[in-house]
Protein backbone atom coordinates (compact mmCIF):
# COMPACT_ATOMS: atom_id res chain seq x y z
CA UNK A 1 0.00 0.00 0.00
CA UNK A 2 2.73 2.40 0.98
CA UNK A 3 4.45 1.77 -2.29
CA UNK A 4 1.32 2.14 -4.26
CA UNK A 5 0.87 5.60 -2.81
CA UNK A 6 4.45 6.47 -3.39
CA UNK A 7 4.22 5.31 -6.99
CA UNK A 8 1.11 7.38 -7.49
CA UNK A 9 2.73 10.35 -5.87
CA UNK A 10 5.82 10.17 -7.99
CA UNK A 11 3.62 10.27 -11.01
CA UNK A 12 1.94 13.46 -9.92
CA UNK A 13 4.77 15.45 -8.45
CA UNK A 14 6.40 17.68 -10.91
CA UNK A 15 9.97 18.48 -10.45
CA UNK A 16 12.09 17.83 -13.39
CA UNK A 17 13.78 15.58 -15.82
CA UNK A 18 11.86 12.37 -15.21
CA UNK A 19 9.86 11.01 -18.08
CA UNK A 20 7.47 8.12 -17.65
CA UNK A 21 6.48 5.84 -20.45
CA UNK A 22 4.16 2.87 -20.19
CA UNK A 23 4.60 -0.30 -22.17
CA UNK A 24 1.60 -2.52 -22.59
CA UNK A 25 0.23 -5.24 -24.87
CA UNK A 26 -0.90 -8.86 -24.86
CA UNK A 27 1.11 -11.61 -23.21
CA UNK A 28 3.99 -12.69 -25.42
CA UNK A 29 4.11 -9.35 -27.24
CA UNK A 30 7.68 -8.72 -26.10
CA UNK A 31 7.17 -6.16 -23.33
CA UNK A 32 9.71 -7.62 -20.93
CA UNK A 33 12.20 -8.16 -23.76
CA UNK A 34 11.69 -4.62 -25.04
CA UNK A 35 12.26 -3.03 -21.64
CA UNK A 36 15.36 -5.16 -21.12
CA UNK A 37 16.78 -4.15 -24.49
CA UNK A 38 16.16 -0.45 -23.99
CA UNK A 39 17.19 -0.19 -20.37
CA UNK A 40 20.79 0.47 -19.55
CA UNK A 41 21.21 -2.72 -17.63
CA UNK A 42 19.20 -5.40 -16.08
CA UNK A 43 19.49 -6.48 -12.50
CA UNK A 44 16.43 -8.38 -11.49
CA UNK A 45 13.65 -10.35 -13.02
CA UNK A 46 10.48 -11.72 -11.54
CA UNK A 47 9.27 -13.67 -14.54
CA UNK A 48 8.09 -17.02 -13.24
CA UNK A 49 7.94 -20.31 -15.12
CA UNK A 50 4.54 -21.14 -16.51
CA UNK A 51 3.10 -23.18 -19.30
CA UNK A 52 0.20 -22.14 -21.38
CA UNK A 53 -1.30 -23.23 -24.67
CA UNK A 54 1.16 -21.13 -26.62
CA UNK A 55 4.13 -22.73 -24.97
CA UNK A 56 5.39 -19.48 -23.53
CA UNK A 57 7.82 -20.43 -20.79
CA UNK A 58 7.85 -17.40 -18.57
CA UNK A 59 5.34 -14.80 -17.65
CA UNK A 60 5.59 -11.48 -15.91
CA UNK A 61 3.54 -11.52 -12.75
CA UNK A 62 5.02 -8.24 -11.72
CA UNK A 63 5.33 -4.95 -13.44
CA UNK A 64 8.49 -4.54 -15.48
CA UNK A 65 10.56 -1.49 -14.82
CA UNK A 66 13.58 -0.19 -16.64
CA UNK A 67 15.21 3.15 -17.08
CA UNK A 68 17.74 4.96 -19.13
CA UNK A 69 19.43 8.27 -18.78
CA UNK A 70 19.63 10.69 -21.61
CA UNK A 71 21.66 13.75 -21.09
CA UNK A 72 20.00 15.23 -18.03
CA UNK A 73 16.74 13.37 -18.55
CA UNK A 74 15.76 10.04 -17.12
CA UNK A 75 13.29 7.91 -19.00
CA UNK A 76 11.42 5.40 -16.91
CA UNK A 77 9.71 2.53 -18.66
CA UNK A 78 6.92 0.72 -16.86
CA UNK A 79 5.62 -2.47 -18.39
CA UNK A 80 2.21 -3.90 -17.62
CA UNK A 81 2.00 -7.55 -16.65
CA UNK A 82 1.24 -9.99 -19.41
CA UNK A 83 -2.28 -10.91 -18.53
CA UNK A 84 -5.42 -9.10 -19.46
CA UNK A 85 -4.81 -6.47 -16.82
CA UNK A 86 -5.04 -3.29 -18.79
CA UNK A 87 -7.43 -1.66 -16.36
CA UNK A 88 -4.81 -1.93 -13.67
CA UNK A 89 -2.27 -0.23 -15.89
CA UNK A 90 -4.75 2.46 -16.83
CA UNK A 91 -5.28 3.52 -13.27
CA UNK A 92 -1.60 4.26 -13.12
CA UNK A 93 -1.68 5.83 -16.54
CA UNK A 94 -4.26 8.29 -15.40
CA UNK A 95 -1.65 9.59 -13.00
CA UNK A 96 0.18 10.81 -16.03
CA UNK A 97 2.68 9.54 -18.52
CA UNK A 98 4.43 11.08 -21.45
CA UNK A 99 3.25 8.36 -23.76
CA UNK A 100 2.22 4.76 -24.14
CA UNK A 101 3.95 2.06 -26.13
CA UNK A 102 1.64 -0.76 -27.15
CA UNK A 103 3.37 -3.89 -28.34
CA UNK A 104 2.05 -6.90 -30.23
CA UNK A 105 3.85 -9.97 -31.53
CA UNK A 106 3.63 -9.87 -35.32
CA UNK A 107 4.30 -13.61 -35.40
CA UNK A 108 1.21 -14.45 -33.36
CA UNK A 109 -2.08 -13.15 -34.82
CA UNK A 110 -3.96 -14.59 -31.86
CA UNK A 111 -2.73 -11.59 -29.91
CA UNK A 112 -4.47 -9.21 -32.30
CA UNK A 113 -8.07 -9.26 -31.01
CA UNK A 114 -6.96 -8.42 -27.48
CA UNK A 115 -4.69 -5.70 -28.83
CA UNK A 116 -7.56 -4.18 -30.82
CA UNK A 117 -9.92 -4.33 -27.87
CA UNK A 118 -7.41 -2.62 -25.68
CA UNK A 119 -6.30 -0.12 -28.32
CA UNK A 120 -9.84 0.99 -29.15
CA UNK A 121 -10.81 1.37 -25.54
CA UNK A 122 -7.64 3.32 -24.84
CA UNK A 123 -8.38 5.56 -27.82
CA UNK A 124 -11.82 6.54 -26.57
CA UNK A 125 -10.91 6.90 -22.90
CA UNK A 126 -7.45 8.41 -22.67
CA UNK A 127 -5.71 11.25 -24.44
CA UNK A 128 -2.07 10.27 -23.96
CA UNK A 129 0.02 9.97 -27.14
CA UNK A 130 0.80 6.40 -28.13
CA UNK A 131 2.78 4.29 -30.54
CA UNK A 132 2.40 0.70 -31.63
CA UNK A 133 5.37 -1.63 -31.89
CA UNK A 134 4.96 -4.81 -33.93
CA UNK A 135 7.64 -7.16 -32.63
CA UNK A 136 9.25 -10.30 -34.09
CA UNK A 137 9.99 -8.57 -37.41
CA UNK A 138 13.20 -10.64 -37.54
CA UNK A 139 11.07 -13.71 -38.29
CA UNK A 140 9.91 -14.68 -41.78
CA UNK A 141 6.22 -15.16 -41.06
CA UNK A 142 4.95 -11.98 -39.46
CA UNK A 143 2.27 -9.37 -39.83
CA UNK A 144 3.97 -6.20 -41.04
CA UNK A 145 3.38 -2.90 -39.23
CA UNK A 146 1.31 -1.70 -42.22
CA UNK A 147 -0.93 -4.75 -41.96
CA UNK A 148 -1.44 -4.22 -38.25
CA UNK A 149 -2.28 -0.57 -39.01
CA UNK A 150 -4.93 -1.75 -41.50
CA UNK A 151 -6.29 -4.16 -38.92
CA UNK A 152 -6.55 -1.42 -36.30
CA UNK A 153 -7.67 1.14 -38.88
CA UNK A 154 -5.04 3.65 -37.88
CA UNK A 155 -2.39 5.77 -39.55
CA UNK A 156 0.57 3.53 -40.52
CA UNK A 157 2.87 6.19 -39.03
CA UNK A 158 1.69 4.98 -35.62
CA UNK A 159 2.97 1.43 -36.26
CA UNK A 160 6.64 0.54 -36.11
CA UNK A 161 8.09 -2.88 -36.84
CA UNK A 162 10.84 -4.01 -34.49
CA UNK A 163 12.92 -6.86 -33.25
CA UNK A 164 12.55 -6.38 -29.50
CA UNK A 165 15.66 -8.47 -28.84
CA UNK A 166 17.79 -5.88 -30.58
CA UNK A 167 18.38 -2.63 -28.74
CA UNK A 168 18.79 -0.56 -31.87
CA UNK A 169 15.62 -1.85 -33.40
CA UNK A 170 13.68 -1.48 -30.14
CA UNK A 171 14.83 2.13 -29.95
CA UNK A 172 12.96 2.87 -33.19
CA UNK A 173 9.71 2.74 -31.24
CA UNK A 174 10.84 5.36 -28.74
CA UNK A 175 12.19 7.57 -31.48
CA UNK A 176 8.87 7.42 -33.32
CA UNK A 177 6.97 8.18 -30.14
CA UNK A 178 9.04 11.30 -29.65
CA UNK A 179 8.40 12.30 -33.25
CA UNK A 180 4.67 11.95 -32.67
CA UNK A 181 4.78 14.01 -29.51
CA UNK A 182 6.85 16.60 -31.28
CA UNK A 183 4.19 16.83 -33.99
CA UNK A 184 1.55 17.25 -31.35
CA UNK A 185 3.45 20.10 -29.76
CA UNK A 186 3.56 21.79 -33.14
CA UNK A 187 -0.22 21.31 -33.27
Amino acid sequence: MVLKTSLERCMNNHKNQNIKIFVTGPSGAGKTTFIRSISQSEVLTTDVPCTNAKGKKETTVAMDYGSLNLDRYAIHLFGSPGQDRFDFTWDILRQGALGVIMLVGGHDPEQLPLLKKMHDKFLTELTIPYILGVTHQDLAEVWTPAEVADYLEIDPFLCVGINALDENSATDVLVRLFEIIEKEIEG
Binding site: C10, N12, Q40, E42, V61, S67, E110, K117, D120, I181
Partner: protein, 266 residues
Protein backbone atom coordinates in the same frame (compact mmCIF):
# COMPACT_ATOMS: atom_id res chain seq x y z
CA UNK B 1 1.92 -11.39 -44.32
CA UNK B 2 -1.77 -11.73 -43.44
CA UNK B 3 -2.35 -15.03 -41.69
CA UNK B 4 -3.98 -16.47 -38.61
CA UNK B 5 -7.00 -18.39 -37.40
CA UNK B 6 -10.52 -17.39 -38.29
CA UNK B 7 -11.55 -17.69 -34.68
CA UNK B 8 -9.47 -14.60 -33.87
CA UNK B 9 -9.95 -12.83 -37.19
CA UNK B 10 -13.13 -13.99 -38.89
CA UNK B 11 -13.72 -13.89 -42.64
CA UNK B 12 -15.60 -10.56 -42.85
CA UNK B 13 -12.79 -8.85 -41.00
CA UNK B 14 -10.13 -10.46 -43.20
CA UNK B 15 -11.96 -9.18 -46.27
CA UNK B 16 -11.99 -5.71 -44.77
CA UNK B 17 -8.22 -5.82 -44.12
CA UNK B 18 -7.56 -7.08 -47.65
CA UNK B 19 -9.20 -3.84 -48.81
CA UNK B 20 -7.68 -2.78 -52.12
CA UNK B 21 -5.23 -5.62 -52.40
CA UNK B 22 -5.51 -8.25 -55.11
CA UNK B 23 -4.86 -11.89 -54.45
CA UNK B 24 -6.10 -15.19 -53.14
CA UNK B 25 -7.31 -15.84 -49.62
CA UNK B 26 -6.81 -19.48 -48.71
CA UNK B 27 -8.50 -21.01 -45.70
CA UNK B 28 -7.60 -24.50 -44.58
CA UNK B 29 -10.00 -26.30 -42.24
CA UNK B 30 -8.79 -28.70 -39.55
CA UNK B 31 -9.88 -31.59 -41.82
CA UNK B 32 -7.56 -30.19 -44.48
CA UNK B 33 -10.26 -28.87 -46.79
CA UNK B 34 -9.03 -25.91 -48.76
CA UNK B 35 -11.38 -23.00 -49.37
CA UNK B 36 -10.22 -20.11 -51.52
CA UNK B 37 -11.51 -16.65 -52.36
CA UNK B 38 -10.21 -14.33 -55.06
CA UNK B 39 -10.13 -10.55 -54.79
CA UNK B 40 -9.06 -7.65 -56.98
CA UNK B 41 -9.52 -3.94 -56.27
CA UNK B 42 -12.33 -4.32 -53.74
CA UNK B 43 -14.15 -6.86 -55.90
CA UNK B 44 -14.86 -10.43 -54.90
CA UNK B 45 -14.22 -12.48 -58.02
CA UNK B 46 -15.01 -16.05 -57.03
CA UNK B 47 -14.53 -18.89 -54.56
CA UNK B 48 -13.61 -22.54 -54.56
CA UNK B 49 -13.94 -25.43 -52.16
CA UNK B 50 -11.09 -27.79 -52.87
CA UNK B 51 -11.01 -27.63 -56.68
CA UNK B 52 -14.72 -27.02 -57.15
CA UNK B 53 -15.77 -23.52 -58.13
CA UNK B 54 -18.73 -22.08 -56.26
CA UNK B 55 -21.30 -21.29 -58.93
CA UNK B 56 -24.07 -19.30 -57.26
CA UNK B 57 -25.01 -17.34 -54.14
CA UNK B 58 -26.75 -20.30 -52.51
CA UNK B 59 -23.64 -22.40 -52.72
CA UNK B 60 -21.61 -19.43 -51.50
CA UNK B 61 -23.84 -18.89 -48.48
CA UNK B 62 -23.71 -22.51 -47.43
CA UNK B 63 -19.95 -22.48 -47.84
CA UNK B 64 -19.70 -19.38 -45.62
CA UNK B 65 -21.85 -21.01 -42.98
CA UNK B 66 -19.77 -24.17 -43.11
CA UNK B 67 -16.59 -22.15 -42.74
CA UNK B 68 -17.82 -20.03 -39.83
CA UNK B 69 -18.28 -23.24 -37.88
CA UNK B 70 -14.72 -24.34 -38.44
CA UNK B 71 -13.19 -21.85 -36.06
CA UNK B 72 -9.81 -23.50 -35.98
CA UNK B 73 -9.33 -22.99 -39.71
CA UNK B 74 -6.13 -21.24 -40.70
CA UNK B 75 -6.05 -18.46 -43.28
CA UNK B 76 -3.36 -16.91 -45.39
CA UNK B 77 -3.65 -14.16 -47.96
CA UNK B 78 -1.40 -14.40 -51.02
CA UNK B 79 -1.05 -11.12 -52.80
CA UNK B 80 -0.96 -11.60 -56.61
CA UNK B 81 -2.36 -9.87 -59.66
CA UNK B 82 -5.39 -11.83 -60.86
CA UNK B 83 -6.62 -12.41 -64.40
CA UNK B 84 -10.15 -11.17 -64.93
CA UNK B 85 -11.09 -14.12 -67.18
CA UNK B 86 -11.63 -16.51 -64.30
CA UNK B 87 -14.48 -14.57 -62.76
CA UNK B 88 -17.67 -16.14 -61.44
CA UNK B 89 -18.98 -13.37 -59.17
CA UNK B 90 -17.55 -9.87 -59.49
CA UNK B 91 -19.40 -8.56 -56.45
CA UNK B 92 -18.26 -5.60 -54.36
CA UNK B 93 -16.19 -7.17 -51.57
CA UNK B 94 -18.47 -5.51 -49.03
CA UNK B 95 -21.27 -7.84 -50.17
CA UNK B 96 -19.10 -10.76 -49.14
CA UNK B 97 -18.55 -9.03 -45.79
CA UNK B 98 -22.33 -8.76 -45.28
CA UNK B 99 -22.94 -12.37 -46.32
CA UNK B 100 -20.23 -13.70 -44.01
CA UNK B 101 -21.47 -11.56 -41.12
CA UNK B 102 -24.81 -13.32 -41.36
CA UNK B 103 -23.07 -16.68 -40.97
CA UNK B 104 -21.12 -15.34 -38.00
CA UNK B 105 -24.28 -14.29 -36.29
CA UNK B 106 -25.58 -17.84 -36.40
CA UNK B 107 -22.33 -18.92 -34.85
CA UNK B 108 -22.19 -16.39 -32.02
CA UNK B 109 -25.70 -16.05 -30.76
CA UNK B 110 -24.92 -16.82 -27.17
CA UNK B 111 -21.26 -16.36 -26.41
CA UNK B 112 -18.90 -13.44 -26.67
CA UNK B 113 -16.04 -14.03 -29.05
CA UNK B 114 -12.70 -12.39 -28.39
CA UNK B 115 -12.96 -10.14 -31.45
CA UNK B 116 -15.96 -8.17 -30.18
CA UNK B 117 -15.13 -4.70 -28.84
CA UNK B 118 -14.97 -3.84 -25.17
CA UNK B 119 -18.44 -2.81 -23.90
CA UNK B 120 -17.08 0.55 -22.76
CA UNK B 121 -15.43 1.60 -26.01
CA UNK B 122 -17.18 4.62 -27.50
CA UNK B 123 -18.25 4.65 -31.15
CA UNK B 124 -19.43 7.48 -33.36
CA UNK B 125 -21.51 7.50 -36.50
CA UNK B 126 -19.49 8.02 -39.71
CA UNK B 127 -22.45 9.60 -41.47
CA UNK B 128 -22.41 7.05 -44.29
CA UNK B 129 -25.58 6.05 -46.12
CA UNK B 130 -27.17 3.08 -44.30
CA UNK B 131 -29.58 2.03 -47.06
CA UNK B 132 -27.39 -0.76 -48.44
CA UNK B 133 -26.42 -2.55 -45.22
CA UNK B 134 -29.32 -5.00 -45.31
CA UNK B 135 -32.60 -5.08 -43.43
CA UNK B 136 -31.45 -6.99 -40.37
CA UNK B 137 -28.56 -4.67 -39.60
CA UNK B 138 -30.65 -1.67 -40.65
CA UNK B 139 -33.34 -2.24 -38.04
CA UNK B 140 -30.72 -2.12 -35.29
CA UNK B 141 -29.20 0.95 -36.91
CA UNK B 142 -32.51 2.84 -36.80
CA UNK B 143 -32.75 2.38 -33.05
CA UNK B 144 -29.12 3.01 -32.25
CA UNK B 145 -28.34 5.84 -34.66
CA UNK B 146 -29.36 8.71 -32.33
CA UNK B 147 -26.88 7.36 -29.77
CA UNK B 148 -24.10 6.88 -32.31
CA UNK B 149 -24.66 10.43 -33.54
CA UNK B 150 -23.37 11.75 -30.22
CA UNK B 151 -21.05 8.81 -29.46
CA UNK B 152 -22.03 5.76 -27.42
CA UNK B 153 -20.82 2.45 -26.04
CA UNK B 154 -22.38 -1.01 -26.00
CA UNK B 155 -22.86 -0.62 -22.28
CA UNK B 156 -24.84 2.56 -22.70
CA UNK B 157 -26.93 1.09 -25.52
CA UNK B 158 -27.77 -1.94 -23.40
CA UNK B 159 -29.17 0.40 -20.76
CA UNK B 160 -31.28 2.31 -23.23
CA UNK B 161 -32.46 -0.27 -25.76
CA UNK B 162 -34.39 -3.50 -25.18
CA UNK B 163 -31.53 -5.54 -26.64
CA UNK B 164 -29.08 -7.90 -24.96
CA UNK B 165 -25.48 -6.76 -24.57
CA UNK B 166 -24.20 -9.74 -26.63
CA UNK B 167 -26.41 -8.72 -29.51
CA UNK B 168 -25.39 -5.10 -29.26
CA UNK B 169 -21.72 -6.06 -29.37
CA UNK B 170 -22.35 -8.17 -32.46
CA UNK B 171 -24.07 -5.23 -34.14
CA UNK B 172 -21.32 -2.82 -33.20
CA UNK B 173 -18.79 -5.24 -34.66
CA UNK B 174 -20.93 -5.44 -37.80
CA UNK B 175 -21.58 -1.73 -38.22
CA UNK B 176 -17.92 -1.05 -37.83
CA UNK B 177 -16.95 -3.51 -40.56
CA UNK B 178 -19.60 -1.88 -42.74
CA UNK B 179 -18.08 1.53 -42.09
CA UNK B 180 -21.17 2.96 -40.42
CA UNK B 181 -19.40 3.71 -37.13
CA UNK B 182 -15.84 4.33 -35.97
CA UNK B 183 -14.09 4.66 -32.62
CA UNK B 184 -14.67 8.04 -31.02
CA UNK B 185 -10.96 8.72 -30.74
CA UNK B 186 -10.02 11.51 -28.38
CA UNK B 187 -7.52 14.10 -29.42
CA UNK B 188 -4.07 13.16 -28.14
CA UNK B 189 -2.81 15.76 -25.74
CA UNK B 190 0.69 16.16 -24.58
CA UNK B 191 1.24 16.15 -20.86
CA UNK B 192 4.61 15.90 -19.23
CA UNK B 193 4.51 13.97 -15.99
CA UNK B 194 7.74 15.12 -14.52
CA UNK B 195 8.17 13.42 -11.23
CA UNK B 196 10.24 13.79 -8.17
CA UNK B 197 13.53 11.95 -8.36
CA UNK B 198 13.46 11.06 -4.68
CA UNK B 199 10.20 9.19 -5.11
CA UNK B 200 11.65 7.19 -7.93
CA UNK B 201 14.71 6.48 -5.88
CA UNK B 202 12.55 5.16 -3.12
CA UNK B 203 11.01 2.71 -5.54
CA UNK B 204 14.31 1.60 -6.97
CA UNK B 205 15.95 1.13 -3.62
CA UNK B 206 13.58 -1.71 -2.83
CA UNK B 207 15.13 -3.65 -5.71
CA UNK B 208 12.55 -6.33 -6.09
CA UNK B 209 8.99 -7.52 -5.77
CA UNK B 210 7.45 -4.40 -4.46
CA UNK B 211 3.85 -5.17 -3.91
CA UNK B 212 1.36 -2.52 -4.74
CA UNK B 213 -1.83 -4.36 -4.04
CA UNK B 214 -3.76 -4.89 -0.90
CA UNK B 215 -2.48 -8.44 -0.38
CA UNK B 216 0.43 -7.07 1.57
CA UNK B 217 0.98 -10.43 3.24
CA UNK B 218 2.86 -11.43 0.12
CA UNK B 219 5.66 -8.95 0.78
CA UNK B 220 8.86 -10.72 1.59
CA UNK B 221 7.33 -14.15 1.30
CA UNK B 222 9.62 -16.80 -0.20
CA UNK B 223 7.77 -18.31 -3.18
CA UNK B 224 7.31 -16.03 -6.19
CA UNK B 225 3.73 -14.88 -6.70
CA UNK B 226 1.76 -17.11 -9.04
CA UNK B 227 0.39 -15.65 -12.24
CA UNK B 228 -3.15 -15.77 -10.97
CA UNK B 229 -5.79 -13.11 -11.35
CA UNK B 230 -4.96 -11.50 -8.07
CA UNK B 231 -1.20 -11.42 -8.15
CA UNK B 232 -0.47 -8.69 -10.64
CA UNK B 233 0.82 -6.37 -8.05
CA UNK B 234 4.55 -6.20 -7.92
CA UNK B 235 7.13 -4.11 -9.65
CA UNK B 236 9.93 -5.73 -11.54
CA UNK B 237 13.04 -3.67 -11.65
CA UNK B 238 15.84 -3.49 -14.14
CA UNK B 239 18.13 -1.16 -12.37
CA UNK B 240 20.11 1.20 -14.44
CA UNK B 241 23.83 1.09 -14.19
CA UNK B 242 25.39 4.45 -14.96
CA UNK B 243 28.66 2.88 -16.09
CA UNK B 244 27.02 0.78 -18.73
CA UNK B 245 25.61 3.41 -21.01
CA UNK B 246 24.64 2.33 -24.47
CA UNK B 247 26.20 5.15 -26.40
CA UNK B 248 24.76 4.71 -29.89
CA UNK B 249 21.25 4.31 -28.65
CA UNK B 250 21.55 7.39 -26.52
CA UNK B 251 22.82 9.54 -29.33
CA UNK B 252 19.82 8.67 -31.46
CA UNK B 253 17.36 9.24 -28.68
CA UNK B 254 18.84 12.48 -27.49
CA UNK B 255 18.43 13.94 -30.92
CA UNK B 256 14.68 13.37 -30.99
CA UNK B 257 14.37 14.26 -27.38
CA UNK B 258 16.11 17.60 -27.44
CA UNK B 259 13.96 18.73 -30.29
CA UNK B 260 10.79 18.37 -28.44
CA UNK B 261 12.11 19.80 -25.23
CA UNK B 262 13.32 22.82 -27.10
CA UNK B 263 9.85 23.26 -28.59
CA UNK B 264 8.12 22.80 -25.28
CA UNK B 265 10.04 25.52 -23.55
CA UNK B 266 10.04 27.95 -26.45
Amino acid sequence: MLFGKIKSIPLPQIVRIIGEKSGVLEIKSPENNLYSFRFARRLFLGAKKQDNPIGDTFALKSMLLELSQKEESFFIFKEVELQEDDVSFSLPAVQLIIASLHSLRTMYQKNLPIFFPDPETVFLSTGNDPSWIGSEFFSFWIEAEPFFAKGTSAKELAKNLPIELEDILFHIYTLRLLNMIKTASKKRTFYLPISDQSDLNSIESHHTNIHLGSDSAAIGSKPPPLPSESSTTAIQIYQSDQQDIKKGLLRRLIYGFKNFFRKMYE
